[in-house]
């Protein structure tokens, strides 16, 4: 049962992200309806649902890219308000990977990864570059460091985007449909990277249609429809025995 209560002191040490009674409107369109969700540290959450269900909106609220109008969102103990300072604080600890990569085309791969550590965390350049090279090794493309994003394939670009987000040493990683823009043969390399991340205990929220990934990696699967959370469960019971009618309908449509 998701809890609607505010996180207590004891909980705060354990809870990475908390949504408490969150509503969001786009104009008069009610995009998120009474969302309550607690994500513990080290937990891997996969959010799925039909398009327009609010799943992207949900994770974009976590790092302040979207603003919520009612309810509270706590990230790593800090409440997200419209205060710019708070938002910047949160963004330093939360990394995000976008569907359209959003790499900076006028900087090299290495520069993409060192930009934020140098200018936001004020890390000396040499240290930032060493860190970035280590990350590029982890995502298995260290030889591309001097190239520009336009010279890389889609799969390589997305892995650079992951390295760039990791360069800020975030406590939480958000993935917004990371493989939806990729050609099929490149999806695996990105999912493998994400799997490796999950194995070392990173707190992750992933919005994706890749149900195989969800089954293997997720601790919990969240199904959203029409702005509401419909069902949450561990992956095996979720896929094998969906309880809500709408969940069943959705799974029938995508697992063919």
């Amino acid at each position: 049962m998701t809890s609607g209560e505010l996180p207590t002191r004891r909980d705060q040490d354990d809870v990475a992200i908390a949504f408490v009674g969150v509503h969001k409107w786009y104009g008069s369109f009610h995009a998120l309806r009474n969302v309550n969700l607690r994500v513990r540290r080290g937990e891997r959450i996969v959010v799925c649902g039909p398009s327009g269900s609010g799943k992207s909106t949900l994770i974009r609220c976590v790092n302040g890219l979207e603003e919520h109008q009612r309810g509270s969102i706590f990230v790593d103990g800090v409440e997200l308000t419209r205060n710019i300072r708070r938002i910047d604080e949160v963004r330093r600890e939360v990394g995000m990977v976008f569907q359209t990569f959003n790499l900076f085309p006028h900087l090299t791969v290495l520069e993409n990864c060192t930009l934020a550590p140098i200018w936001v965390r004020k890390i000396p350049r040499r240290e930032a570059e060493t860190m970035a090279m280590a990350l590029l090794e982890r995502v298995k493309i260290p030889e591309q460091a001097a190239k520009y994003p336009g010279q890389l394939s889609g799969g390589q670009q997305q892995r650079v985007a992951i390295a760039r987000a990791l360069a800020m040493s975030p406590k939480i990683m958000l993935f917004d449909e990371p493989t939806s823009s990729l050609d099929p043969e490149m999806v695996k390399e990105v999912l493998d990277t994400m799997r490796a991340l999950a194995e070392i205990g990173m707190t992750m929220i992933v919005v994706t249609h890749e149900m195989g990934f969800a089954r293997q990696v997720a601790d919990r699967v969240v199904f959203m429809d029409n702005g509401e959370i419909i069902e949450i469960n561990a992956p095996d019971p979720f896929f094998d025995d969906p309880k809500h009618e709408r969940t069943r309908l959705f799974l029938r449509q995508i697992l063919h």
Binding site: M96, F101, K122, Q151, R164
Partner: protein, 387 residues
């Protein structure tokens, strides 16, 4: 199927045939024209060479950056006109750029009033003819100003009347040299500091107050020099003497109207270019920069503007060229630019139409080609590398 094997079906030969035909036709037309021109010019007593260049002009010019009098040659008149054209360009381009960037930024402002005002500005100025705007400034504004005795004035420093705009003229005095030296020293110090600050950031990550230091140095050092050695400039103020203002810098109303019109008109086009440039940077770039923790100012400086500038520079230079070409409208307000003096008065007096027009057009062509070449070089160096 019977396909003719004649030579004419060979594309290569056809191509050569077409080209030969074109050369013949064009060559024939040019020869025809030259033949007629030669005959007509001789019949009407029009000079054929460039001898008019050294003849006495016999007319006055009310703005000349180099010495000129009615006894000077037509050649000298050409140089006066060319310099005046370049003067208008040099003054108008920075001002138009400033206005253009300001209005372009205003268009993107979240404040509804400000962005609507900027929209109205660009719409109105881009959809009325430049000539109309120039005539408006000249006839309806500058010429209706009062005479020198009743000038509009800003604390007796700047004067506005129907003879033009009068500004104080800085006259360098003895301490000007140390003033200039202190300025140079300040620039050098700022450059050194910037280098040091960059090294420091690379080594330790800490940021240094480059802007603050630069401001302090550029203002403080010259001020110290002035205090130590005395004021570097004295200002010659325009003063009423008789029926006119004497002294100071006089900007004739023709130039004021031309500059005003060109700056406001071109500024509107530049505003649209700036706005389009910034908007064409994909929204995802802004989001990614924000997601990494970069606040709005840093995101603009490090991510958005570098990409936007690439897209802005080509159309911007084309607007600069347009401004220089549009300055030829000076003839309508009586400003003595190259066209007004050379293709106007000189052509009318010497009747050497072919030579005069050829020279005039060659000048503008040279300017256009130079700017185009510079732009191409810049584009080549800045192109985003792709697969």
């Amino acid at each position: 199927m019977e396909v003719s094997e004649t030579r004419f079906n060979d594309p290569k030969l056809r191509g050569l045939a077409y080209q030969a035909a074109l050369i013949l036709v064009l060559g024939g037309l040019i020869a025809f024209g030259v033949y007629n021109a030669y005959g007509n010019m001789i019949a009407r007593g029009i000079p054929l060479g460039f001898s008019f260049w050294n003849e006495v002009a016999g007319f006055q010019i009310n703005l000349h950056l180099i010495p000129y009098s009615a006894m000077s040659t037509y050649g000298r008149a050409f140089w006066v006109g060319l310099l005046n054209t370049l003067l208008v360009g040099a003054v108008s381009i920075p001002l138009a750029t400033a206005i253009g960037f300001a209005i372009g930024a205003a268009r993107l402002s979240p404040n509804w009033l400000l962005s609507r005002f900027a929209l109205a500005y660009t719409n109105v100025l881009r959809n009325t003819p430049l000539l109309l705007q120039l005539l408006f400034w000249y006839n309806a504004v500058l010429r209706t100003l009062p005479g020198p005795r009743e000038s509009l004035t800003l604390h007796n420093i700047v004067f506005l009347n129907n003879r033009g705009v009068f500004l104080p003229l800085p006259v360098p005095r003895q301490p000007a040299i140390s003033f200039a030296l202190s300025l140079l020293l300040a620039v050098a110090l700022v450059a050194v500091f910037r280098l040091w600050a960059k090294r420091r950031q690379e080594r330790t990550g800490a940021l240094s107050p480059v802007f603050g230091f630069a401001a302090a140095a550029m203002i403080g050092l010259p001020a110290l020099a002035a205090l130590a050695t005395g004021a570097p400039f004295s200002f010659e103020m325009p003063k009423l003497s008789g029926f006119n203002l004497k002294g100071g810098v006089q900007v004739i109303p023709e130039m004021a109207a031309l500059v005003f019109g060109l700056v406001t008109f071109t500024g509107a086009f530049i505003a649209e270019i700036v706005r389009a440039g910034i908007l064409s940077v994909p929204r995802g770039q802004f989001e990614a920069a924000g997601a990494l923790g970069l606040h709005r100012g840093l995101a603009m400086r490090l991510v958005i503007l570098p990409q936007a500038i690439r897209l802005i520079i080509p159309p911007l230079t084309s607007q600069y060229l347009n401004l220089i070409k549009n300055s030829s409208l000076a003839v309508f307000v009586g400003y003595p630019d190259l066209v007004q003096i050379f293709a106007g008065t000189v052509l009318n007096q010497t009747h050497a139409a072919v030579q005069v027009m050829a020279i005039t057009m060659a000048v503008y062509l040279a300017i256009s080609l130079l700017v185009a070449a510079a732009l191409n070089a810049y584009n080549a160096s800045q192109a985003l590398r792709e697969r």
